[in-house]
Symmetry: C2
Subunit: 357 residues, 2 copies
């Protein structure tokens, strides 16, 4: 607390990212990073872009990258916005679209940055209680609102909402003229993107990231696809904060990431297969494991508490994410690593379960 802070700064509930240990001693399954490196073509493109032109500002409109993403998804470049990671895109979206007179709706268990944005931009919010199995009860959202945001598949629960269900949210909010943001950070690991519906729904904004399925958490690139009016709203917010949020290297790297489709498909396929195998193995030793369409699983054991599992895994140099929060304090979120890493994980957690039983 400082007398030099603006009103409200002391009360901010800021986001706390997962641990980023600077040493290498952990098998790191705690921040949903991709265990596989980015495409070699991306790395080469960045090396090539590291030249004397770094003295020049990047293109503030990021036109080539927007165009690349537009062609990839079959939309126009005026329907694409890019930002410094999907977190920045989401922050700008909360500022651009959510109405101040009604509460913003999101599930009670979801990405923990949503209440942070709500708080920072002085919005009201109302959380919608998920079912016991963490599925999303769509009809509970049918209430006057200042906007809806859902993460699909949801984090940290890994539960997926089908497109017909999301359409019900879109239809409801179309009638009351409010935006629905679908945060698809994890969509490439088995879900179906709703991006094809932006023509039908001018109130739909789809947000994605290159951090997960394209192995580029370290490059900070996220994007949104939606009606050109929504994209213009995002550009207005961006141009009120920082004209150049993506550096030249990120722009070149991101373009190349959409160029290497073969690598992208192979990588996500490997993760899906590993996830399915681990799900099976964990169930065999007494874990509840939700069906996941993400690059992580959400698990709970019948006899050992998640807090204890987290601590014992850490002792054994395996880092997973444990949220000390209502409803989910007996669950662990485990990112899917390589086959080797997950082999070790299953081995270690089996040992913990046996000795604890």
């Amino acid at each position: 607390m400082s007398k030099y802070w603006s009103d409200g700064i002391a009360d901010l509930e800021t986001y706390v990212p997962g641990e980023q240990p600077q040493d290498k001693k952990y098998i790191k399954l705690n921040t949903n990073e991709n265990p596989y490196p980015p495409s070699p073509k991306v790395i080469q493109a960045i090396k090539n872009a590291a030249d004397e032109n770094l003295r020049l500002y990047p293109d503030p409109s990021c036109e080539k990258l927007c165009d690349t993403i537009a062609r990839y998804y079959g939309v126009t470049k005026e329907e694409v916005f890019v930002g410094n990671g999907s977190d920045e895109v989401l922050a700008f979206s909360f500022a651009a679209f959510f109405d101040h007179d009604q509460p913003v709706l999101y599930p009670d268990v979801t990405y923990s940055f949503y209440p942070v944005y709500t708080n920072f931009f002085k919005l009201q919010s109302k959380t919608i209680e998920l079912e016991e199995d963490f599925s999303i009860p769509v009809e509970k959202f049918f209430t006057p609102n200042g906007g809806i945001i859902i993460c699909n598949p949801n984090a940290p629960t890994s539960r997926y909402l089908s497109i017909p269900e999301i359409r019900r949210l879109l239809d409801y909010n179309l009638a009351i003229e409010r935006v629905v943001i679908v945060d698809e950070a994890y969509i490439d690991f088995g879900g179906q993107s709703i991006v094809g519906l932006i023509d039908a729904y001018p109130n739909l904004l789809v947000v994605q990231t290159l951090s997960k399925s394209r192995s580029l958490a370290g490059l900070r690139v996220g994007f949104a696809v939606g009606h050109r009016d929504l994209i213009e709203g995002l550009n207005r917010v961006k141009s009120s904060i920082n004209s150049y949020t993506l550096d030249r290297l990120a722009l070149f790297g991101a373009i190349e990431a959409f160029g290497d489709e073969e690598y992208f498909q192979a990588t996500r396929e490997k993760i899906i297969q590993t996830r399915n195998r681990v799900t099976h193995e964990l169930r065999a030793i007494g874990f509840r494991v939700f069906e996941s369409t993400a690059n992580f699983i959400f698990i709970s054991h019948s006899s050992i508490h998640a807090g204890e599992l987290y601590a014992k895994l850490k002792e054994n140099r395996v880092l997973v994410r444990y949220f000390r929060k209502p409803r989910i304090d007996n669950y662990l979120r485990v990112s899917i690593g390589t086959d080797d890493e997950m082999g070790t994980f299953v081995e270690v957690i089996s040992r913990i379960v046996k000795s604890g039983a």
Copy 2:
């Protein structure tokens, strides 16, 4: 305008950056970029950092870079904040420190992003009229305020305010418990930084950038130095928007930029010498040229209007910055390029002046 925008989004007066032509046909003297490339060591560091670790998030606290900057300026790393260009750092500062009950003060002629931030964060503002010669009348700031921001040397005027004069602002605002932000984007081209006074003034925040004097506009790195309470305020805002604003490549490149002091000194020395020579040559052909401590000059001609000069220079493939704004609509801001570029500039503008006289 869209019915899906939040209140206020339609009224935002967004920042418009200088033209960034994507072809190479201009001598580009319009966005204060450095004409010399970044240090070869920076480029090498980035190439080295372009590896498989891009799959991992960067360090959200940017500790190594903060530590590097801290050692460079003789402060502690808790007194340093880094962001995605000084524009982002400034935006976060407006959110973190400026009081909503009193107007924020800044000169009527200054960096045009300040009113944009004011507007976006719903602050009040009051502009302080500069003298006819664009010098800053310090005593006019001695009025109740929600904070003060000055750019030193000021943009686009190039005028420099001495440290004893800035201390008067700091003393006044210390008494009323308000922050003074000194935006030193151009300080390395001949001014003296006030960063040494952060211990004496807990209300002083100094903001700098790597875009100008370190030739890294394309890498997007800026920073602030101030009392640790101010730095904590900035971190609270950052952690409400985006935990990772600097990618891994920018972090590695920026650290190296502070490591190559010899290159830094040589580059800024060249720009200072070119600027002084061009100032002399322009005065000889009838230009008013303010004494500059920046990497640009602010000029006006007695007989040809700046708007006409701008257009004719552009026809001749020389791009400078012309602001169609009250008080400065008969001035041009000209970034200092290489000796060759400035030779061409002086040659072209001399021809225009002769034919127009």
